[in-house]
């Protein structure tokens, strides 16, 4: 038999190809470099290279299973940014934690590639594989401090619950396949446009919803997040709190806006419920926390609740507000984690008492990130929330916005508590820091962007 294999057009997938091949090469190079820092710098370079390819990678390829459009490009930009910043804050940290494996950087790259595939997937099979590529890499990353029982615990919890949620996802996808006879998201959309809703369709949709709500850590599927975030190495926590969440949102946006677009009446009420519950759980539980990583985990849950509003409103403004929020969240959250890594102290909130006296600059940075997370102008966090809530109000969800603003006010309590601890309390002992050039660079980038976006929102809006 003479099979004529047409060579696929690689251009649209260039960023992914760059990342994956570089990650594979880095696995080999790891054997030759004693100093793992080289790999880190290589990773940053590769991310930059991929970022360079991202804007020119528009188009469909691989039998229409891969679709690179403006939507996915925004997300890829966020993923690559997340990757770069994570590597920057990791370099010193992994050395300090004695977990300096060369594979670490490759795995970060693989995970990012998985996220990028998710954002670009036009076929449910590619979507699932991208998701697993991301998930499996992050499981390993969460457990990479293998001599630390907490890291092991985080990894096993993440893996088991992640596996459980993928099984739920697969069940939903299999039903969807049976119902429509296809796995192509756009064909599914066409099919539903003519067939309308039915009970099995709704069921398949809910299984998929549950699985992705797990990935974005929305309540009641959120419970893994605090434990995993607390136990994982801090740099990985920073990576996880943004990347998989953003990827989850990328898929939610794609699936709900394309495949299930004609079924809005069925999924909107469910997502509203999840969003409110998520905001409530995230914000209320964050108040009671004593560990800052754990607090940020709950805060990240709460932020997922806000972002879901962007999906709910059902307009393109809502979706773009959600993407903008993710980008802003990337900067402010990464900044906060960079500060945590910078400090030699533990992760307890009371360790931050009197920080302003011993490390005024660090305290100032943390102050800005906390303000931004709260959403106080002129920081980027305010712009993100404003944008998101405005889109919701315009779409007629004023009541939802009122709830969100209320929870946002609650959130001020726990973010500003950190600020209060730093500025109002006396220090128990002198705080020391371990600065490194890359960490400083990450902090500089994040703080600059938090202010730049806050002062010039037109950078990201529109």
């Amino acid at each position: 038999m003479n099979v004529n294999l047409p060579f696929p057009d690689l251009a649209p997938a260039m960023p992914e190809i760059v990342i994956i091949s570089a990650a594979t090469i880095m696995l080999l190079l790891e054997l030759f470099f004693k100093n793992k820092g080289v790999l880190a710098f290589m990773g940053i370079g590769i991310a930059a290279l991929a970022m360079y390819f991202v804007p020119m990678s528009i188009g469909d390829t691989f039998n229409g299973m891969f679709k690179s459009d403006l939507y996915s490009i925004y997300f890829k930009f966020i993923f690559l940014l997340n990757l770069m910043l994570t590597i920057m804050i990791s370099l010193q940290y992994m050395k300090r934690e004695k977990a300096e494996y060369g594979e670490y950087y490759s795995l970060l790259l693989f995970a990012t590639a998985g996220m990028m595939l998710m954002a670009s997937a036009k076929d449910l099979i590619v979507l699932y594989l991208g998701l697993e590529l991301m998930a499996l890499s992050t499981y390993i990353l969460a457990g990479i401090k293998k001599h630390d029982i907490r890291s092991n615990e985080a990894a096993i919890k993440y893996l088991l619950l992640g596996g459980f949620s993928s099984a739920i996802l697969l069940y939903g996808i299999s039903l969807l396949y049976g119902l429509t006879g296809t796995t192509d998201i756009y064909s599914i959309s066409v099919y539903f446009k003519f067939q309308g809703s039915s009970l099995p369709v709704v069921m398949a949709m809910m299984f998929i919803t549950a699985a992705f709500c797990f990935k974005i850590a929305a309540a009641p599927f959120h419970m893994w997040a605090p434990d995993v975030y607390e136990g994982a190495p801090t740099s990985v926590t920073a990576f996880m709190s943004i990347g998989p969440k953003a990827a989850g949102f990328a898929v939610i946006g794609r699936i709900f806006y394309v495949a299930f677009q004609s079924l809005q009446a069925d999924w909107v009420p469910v997502l509203i419920g999840i969003s409110i519950l998520t905001m409530a759980v995230g914000n209320i539980l964050a108040i009671t926390q004593t560990n800052i990583k754990r607090m940020l985990a709950y805060s990240s849950i709460a932020h997922a609740g806000y972002m879901l509003i962007g999906v709910i409103v059902g307009t393109s403004e809502g979706l773009s507000a959600m993407i903008t929020y993710l980008l802003i969240y990337t900067f402010m959250n990464m900044g906060a984690f960079a500060v945590i890594i910078l400090l030699d102290r533990g992760d307890e909130i009371k360790d931050y008492e009197g920080l302003a006296k011993s490390q005024p600059l660090v305290a100032g940075l943390m102050l800005v990130f906390m303000f931004s997370l709260t959403g106080i102008p002129p920081t980027a966090g305010f712009i993100g929330k404003f944008n998101l809530f405005m889109a919701a109000v315009q779409a007629g969800y004023a009541w939802l916005v009122i709830i969100a603003v209320m929870f946002s006010a609650v959130s001020a309590y726990y973010y500003l508590r950190i600020v209060m601890n730093m500025y109002m309390k006396d220090m128990t002992e002198e705080a020391s820091i371990t600065p490194s050039p890359t960490l400083a660079l990450a902090l500089a980038i994040t703080i600059m962007m938090v202010f730049a976006i806050g002062i010039m929102p037109s950078l990201v809006i529109g």
Binding site: V3, L5, P8, I20, T24, L27, K34, F62, N63, M65, F66, K98, E100, Y101, E103, S106, L107, F110, A113, L117, D123, I125, V126, L129, G130, E132, L133, L136, S137, Y139, I140, G143, I144, K146, A155, L175, Y177, G178, L179, T180, G181, T182, Y191, S198, L199, P200, V202, M203
Partner: protein
């Protein structure tokens, strides 16, 4: 009539084995029962004209994954396991929720109507042999996911090595 009986036999055995697997106290028994289960599933695949998948099911699942499970179980302390509780204290809640979900799912799939038919009719596949037809789809239409799957396997290797290998004395 015969196909129905065939299906019913498999359905009953598969369900029964599933229950057996999750109720065994000794994990080794669970694994062995699972082996039997996989053979039944493979035979169901045969019944559904998926010969290649039946083979994969046996070779990969039964041959590789289950053996991996067995290896790990052997490393752990079985004696301790035999005296421990098999379930968490809240197991009735878990079972209740599970059964509730099942009720809803059964309710949901009651109105199931499958989508439009594809090209690969049984006759067409028979003419080409299943493996070849599947292979062509896999390597032509699904080449891209196939590549991703290869990366996933690579990650599994890397992960297993990173997490499970013995450290050198230097700790590097």
């Amino acid at each position: 009539m015969l196909p129905i009986l065939f299906f019913l036999y498999h359905a009953v055995v598969i369900i029964a084995l599933s229950v057996v697997i999750i109720t065994r106290r000794n994990p080794v028994h669970s694994v062995l029962w699972m082996l039997v289960l996989f053979f039944h599933i493979a035979s169901l695949y045969l019944f559904l004209n998926a010969e290649f998948l039946a083979a994969v099911q046996i070779i990969l699942y039964a041959g590789a994954i289950l053996v991996l499970f067995l290896f790990v179980i052997m490393m752990l302390n079985i004696k301790h396991e035999l005296n421990a509780d098999i379930c968490i204290g809240e197991w009735p809640i878990g079972v209740a929720i599970g059964l509730s979900v099942m009720t809803l799912v059964i309710l949901g799939i009651g109105k199931f109507s499958h989508g439009p038919m594809g090209q690969a009719s049984i006759e067409a596949v028979k003419a080409e042999t299943h493996t070849k037809a599947l292979g062509r789809v896999l390597y032509m239409d699904y080449l891209f996911p196939f590549e991703i799957a290869s990366i996933i396997l690579l990650i599994a290797i890397v992960g297993a090595i990173v997490l499970a290998k013995k450290e050198k004395a230097s700790g590097g």
